[in-house]
Symmetry: C2
Subunit: 387 residues, 2 copies
Amino acid sequence: MQNFEFYNPVNIVFGKGQISQLNKLVPAETKIMLAYGGGSIFKNGVYDQVKTALKGFDIVEFGGIEPNPHYETLMKAAEIVKKENLGFILAVGGGSVLDGVKFIAAAACWEGADPWDFLTQRSKYTVNKAIPLGSVLTLPATGSEMNGGSVVTRISTREKLAFMSNAVMPKFSILDPTVVFSLPEKQVANGVVDAFVHVIEQYLTFPVDAPIQDRFAESILVTLVEEGPKVLADRSDYEAAANFMWAATMALNGLIGTGVPQDWATHMIGHELTAFHNIDHARTLAIVLPGIMRVKKENKREKLLQFGERVWKITTGTTEERIDATISRTVEFFESFGIPTKLSAYGIGADFIPVVCDRFTQRGFTGIGERGDLTVAQIGEVLTLQL
Amino acid sequence: MQNFEFYNPVNIVFGKGQISQLNKLVPAETKIMLAYGGGSIFKNGVYDQVKTALKGFDIVEFGGIEPNPHYETLMKAAEIVKKENLGFILAVGGGSVLDGVKFIAAAACWEGADPWDFLTQRSKYTVNKAIPLGSVLTLPATGSEMNGGSVVTRISTREKLAFMSNAVMPKFSILDPTVVFSLPEKQVANGVVDAFVHVIEQYLTFPVDAPIQDRFAESILVTLVEEGPKVLADRSDYEAAANFMWAATMALNGLIGTGVPQDWATHMIGHELTAFHNIDHARTLAIVLPGIMRVKKENKREKLLQFGERVWKITTGTTEERIDATISRTVEFFESFGIPTKLSAYGIGADFIPVVCDRFTQRGFTGIGERGDLTVAQIGEVLTLQL
């Protein structure tokens, strides 16, 4: 096991009816921003529950945070936070609203020239200060409700970039599984695949004798494989919704990544597919991951075999056959949720590949993945395999 | 899954050489108490590492905290904290030192008559304030390094009681697995069994459709079964020591207990064995648990079968045979570490049983265990089975 530091002070309040606890969790002595997205919270009753719980609180609303939240939109919110001297931000929504609120919270306290700098120059700038925030999660998927990560898209430059800071970890996140009841099929599918790939990025690397981390990762994967289809088949199955929701949170709260190598190449390449073609985040992961598994088969040999055996129960055949079966089984799993894993299914052809490669080259790229040895040429190979 | 709240802000700093980080973790602007036990930290080099890391800090030392830390000793420390106006307490030791420091931290801020009250009258008093504390763990076992629980023994009344408070959660805990290298065999054995039973108390109850929690619990159990003997066989095996250490922490940091029923009857009965006969905590658990499994076989039927199958790989035989094999295998596991599971091996006879039963009756006992239906008569049965 490698040395590590683990710190996660997010207070998780989990279960049906828990939105009513908001008045005890949100600070009473300050004016708060209530931030949300495109308005699904008006249809599923969450907005009403939140407003009821926060009766008497001084609230400024900010709606319209987009999927893959836009820098341009968030900067407007940050201006309001500063101008109105708001002391707390409550994110009510999915990962995009949460990520957006994290950026707003940091941007409102940023003393440098442009908050965009802490995404483009992560080695130079660190976010140490942010307006405190909390969340009511409406979509299990990204894990943003229990970590300090945020991904923001700048429309004008077609860039999708991340930042991490303990300062933007939510003070609390309310996870009420009944929010799953009204989710469209596509969002459930995306959520399951997103959480699945979050685990894979921290697990499918090389072994470092970390059996707890490996088994926790496999626990989440197997649970997603079992519960995901149940949620898709019957959105009102509370137990399946609860298990899916907790799995998605556990997939990216730092715990399974303690003391082990991490990959994240799938995410980095996937972000470019969203930045240029606006493909849903989870779908970009389903496209890229199978290519990464194939191109980096040698690097990942031992963990591919372990993943195949423990998650997909693949125990027969030669090593090569078992690895191929493991990759095929993963592709089948994504496609069983109606998520295509080939670029062509999204109308993207080979001409797009050099565009992605050029962007990595331009950023002074020196290799990504758990060994830092995935080259730009290999990024091209990955995408070519997935045409 | 049941509704739950999960909050664990302890900063874990894990790995070899991490004690040197202390100067960044301990607040510089205050006078601190350095608290420890019987002096093993002088032999294993930890004391020197701590003093080197804290060069220049204003330190008051308090040594001699006993195994099953004594209220009488801890009250003296609390007096010093108050008199010298200390602002931070660093626990350097195992679970007893940690539990002791938590009590000291709370007692020093207690405004009521006697701090003992917050252990004896938990429904009436809550600990909301404590001197901030941190720890350097020297013995993986109790999990106290990552929770807000503490168990204290009052010698004058032969009582061993617990309290829980977020206020006494360590700000940080340094877990350097090399501390295991110098542990005597008995302490390794106790540590493995202690962590194992902590998991069992949160797992071996009745199913509530919580697959993540179940699998995480089984992950820790299997890891203890694999790594425990390795540590015992070769104390200098760093990887085994690290995995044992992380397993013990994960066993009782609240995570596997989220949203599931919990038992803790084994601990409550075990505490009486320590209070009256000063048997090591882990050994009391190894004595009581097999009796609980037998007497509460019906309550625990489904989880006993799952535990047998997933941890001990018991898959054949009738239900009854599988349950018996599961209990036997658990007993064998404890005894393979040189820990007897019968009272007679500790020189305790049947005359002790009514003493324990009377104590539960005197406390206005209304039933313990995950269903609250373990009666005083059944406590007698449990102990009779383990004579």
